[in-house]
């Protein structure tokens, strides 16, 4: 197990490094610097600014300084647009928001998706099954950017039950729509995966054996069938998690929740490359870490995977 984790880390670290380097060079390949405004600054002022931000150094020196800063002090540098804020400040403000609704969406999608899939498989070809399949097919074509306006139309404009946006410290009414919008399509995918793999497991020999020796259904389902049936779902959790973090871009834009997605889009439009890069690296790190956790989880559940 430890060897496996070490091996995974050995891949994860170069990946992160590549991501850092690519985004860094991308940022600097951008036409125009961060301080080019409508009115060109005098050359001496420009030189001073560049010196202050270290932009007069050769690119690889800058990259090195940046990486050292990130690794040793967790310092992603200053924001180019907001003089009084660092990238860290911006992330520290937005990230908890994203994490809050991302986490709950993840829980909702996984729990509901798995339960729906299991129930559908257990009641195969019944009304419940068709209902579950119907929901999951319908929800597949409702990605977050389609769900968000529909929810607002229904709950805010028509029924007037929920506030149409804002965060307000993450109070419940403000959380409902982001979570529904973010989790729906993932719930659908998870329930489809769960249903088909559960059906496969339920028809396998060892379940027949368990039934033949007279185990109660509850024990068969929870003790024997659930674990192997979860495998495809577990491997889907990685992409699902990434999707939810990415979905933050839409959720924040639409509901003005103020997560890192909003910070990312704002920085994209104001060309605040330092912030964009910081967020990209943060999300990359999260993605890689999470995929690693999922892989380890997978290996732990599936006895066929040799570590």
């Amino acid at each position: 197990m430890i060897m496996f984790i070490i091996r995974r880390l050995a891949v994860a670290i170069p990946t992160l490094l590549i991501l850092c380097i690519v985004t860094f060079y991308l940022m600097h390949a951008a036409p125009g610097g961060p301080f080019n405004s409508e009115r060109p600054l005098p050359a001496s002022v420009m030189a001073n600014i560049n010196a202050k931000y270290g932009l007069d150094q050769p690119l690889h020196t800058q990259l090195y300084t940046y990486l050292v800063g990130v690794v040793t002090e967790f310092d992603f540098g200053p924001s180019y647009k907001f003089k009084d804020r660092t990238v860290n400040d911006i992330i520290a403000q937005g990230f908890p928001v994203t994490l809050t609704y991302g986490f709950w969406s993840f829980i909702v999608a996984t729990v509901l998706g798995i339960s729906l899939g299991v129930v559908a498989a257990l009641k195969h070809n019944s009304i419940i099954d068709y209902f579950a399949v119907g929901i999951s097919i319908g929800a597949q074509v409702l990605p977050n950017f389609v769900m968000a306006p529909l929810l607002v139309w229904l709950f805010t404009l028509t029924l007037g039950w929920l506030p149409g946006g804002g965060w307000n410290g993450g109070q419940f009414p403000y959380l409902v729509m982001p979570i529904i919008a973010l989790s729906t399509s993932y719930m659908a995918s998870i329930s489809r995966l769960m249903r088909s793999s559960m059906l496969e497991v339920l028809n396998s020999n060892f379940i027949r054996t368990a039934r033949a020796k007279g185990l109660p259904s509850r024990k068969i389902i929870f003790g024997h069938a659930l674990k192997p049936a979860l495998l495809p779902v577990v491997s889907y959790l990685g992409p699902a998690f990434v999707g939810m973090i990415t979905g933050s871009v839409v959720i924040d834009t639409f509901f003005s929740t103020g997560g890192i997605g909003q910070a990312f889009v704002n920085s994209a439009f104001s060309r605040d490359y330092a912030v964009m890069m910081g967020i990209t690296i943060l999300v990359g790190t999260l993605t890689i870490t999470f995929n690693m956790i999922v892989d380890i989880l997978y290996a732990w559940i599936d006895p066929k995977v040799r570590l």
Partner: protein, 304 residues
């Protein structure tokens, strides 16, 4: 005697009517009522994007200045004045815009999927065919790329290098060939030990000719299936990018952009500005998923 005769007739006939993979697939697909229905729907949508403009009053760019700011009161959909889907907030005919948006979305989906297919197939086939160290290095690269949050990198790309169609395709293509490469590699490995490849090697055919002439054609079934499933994903990606405001540039539009705009003006009571593009989007994605699913059932040799 007669039975013999019949039998040989039967055999002869069976010989003549040898069923290829594709014929087989067509028969299976035709039997799948849902897939067939949605294939027809898909065809109708495509047909609509061609024929629809013929009955449009104005094209997607023309602005009716008297409508600006009054879309909510006067811009409702109406058959009488020819603006079947009403006006958008800038006084343009929504009917024409939806057609344009649908067309662009389909285009992005198809081109994006093609990019992914070409790169992914070649990459996967090369990795699978050569095997060994080449394979493990190439696949490690895929693993590494897969772990990168491409949506963020794509947005970064679009901002840094100005929004453009080409950049959008490069970005979307980059996002999507990875899965294809993995699938193709797996299939190639199972094909490359077959006799006909051995025969080709023995008769001195070059490696790349073997890949292009002998391996790739045998991958077409799998590739087709994943390509059709990729198209809706590409459309979703493009719509996502458009929703954020980095997609196709005005006056051109795409379904994602129309949905975004329609969602923004929802509070003023212009429901149709959201519902028409949304309807087209949902039906389009739905049909593509069903057709893809049907094709998978028809072409996947595992289910025979």
């Amino acid at each position: 005697m007669i039975t013999d005769q019949l039998l040989s007739n039967d055999l002869a006939e069976a010989d003549v009517a040898g069923r290829s993979l594709w014929m087989d697939a067509r028969v299976r697909f035709m039997r799948n009522k849902a897939a067939l229905f949605f294939a027809v729907v898909l065809f109708l949508i495509v047909l609509f994007t061609f024929l629809g403009p013929l009955i449009a009053v104005t094209d997607h760019e023309t602005i009716d200045f008297s409508m600006i700011g009054q879309a909510a009161e006067k811009g409702q959909p109406s058959i009488a004045n020819g603006h079947y889907f009403g006006y958008d907030d800038e006084g343009r005919d929504l009917y024409s815009r939806v057609i344009q948006g649908t067309w662009i979305s389909i285009l992005v989906g198809v081109i994006g999927a093609s990019v992914a297919v070409v790169i992914g197939t070649l990459y996967g086939a090369i990795a699978g065919y050569f095997g060994g160290r080449v394979d493990s290095i190439m696949m490690r690269i895929v693993d590494i790329l897969m772990a990168i949050p491409f949506m963020f990198v794509l947005i970064l790309l679009l901002v840094v290098f100005e929004r453009s169609f080409v950049m959008l395709f490069i970005g979307i293509g980059m996002l999507s060939w990875l899965g294809m490469a993995r699938i193709v590699r797996g299939q190639t490995i199972s094909i490359k030990n077959k006799e006909f490849i051995e025969a080709a090697v023995a008769s001195g055919v070059g490696n790349f000719t073997i890949i292009i002439r002998h391996i790739v054609p045998n991958l077409l079934g799998v590739v087709t299936v994943y390509a059709t499933l990729l198209v809706p994903e590409m459309i979703l990606t493009e719509s996502f990018i458009s929703f954020v405001g980095l997609g196709v540039q005005a006056p051109d539009t795409s379904l994602g952009q129309l949905i975004n705009v329609g969602a923004g003006t929802l509070q003023y009571g212009t429901k149709w500005q959201l519902m028409f593009p949304l309807g087209f989007f949902v039906v389009l994605i739905f049909s593509l998923f069903f057709v893809g699913d049907g094709l998978r059932d028809a072409l996947d040799p595992k289910d025979r």
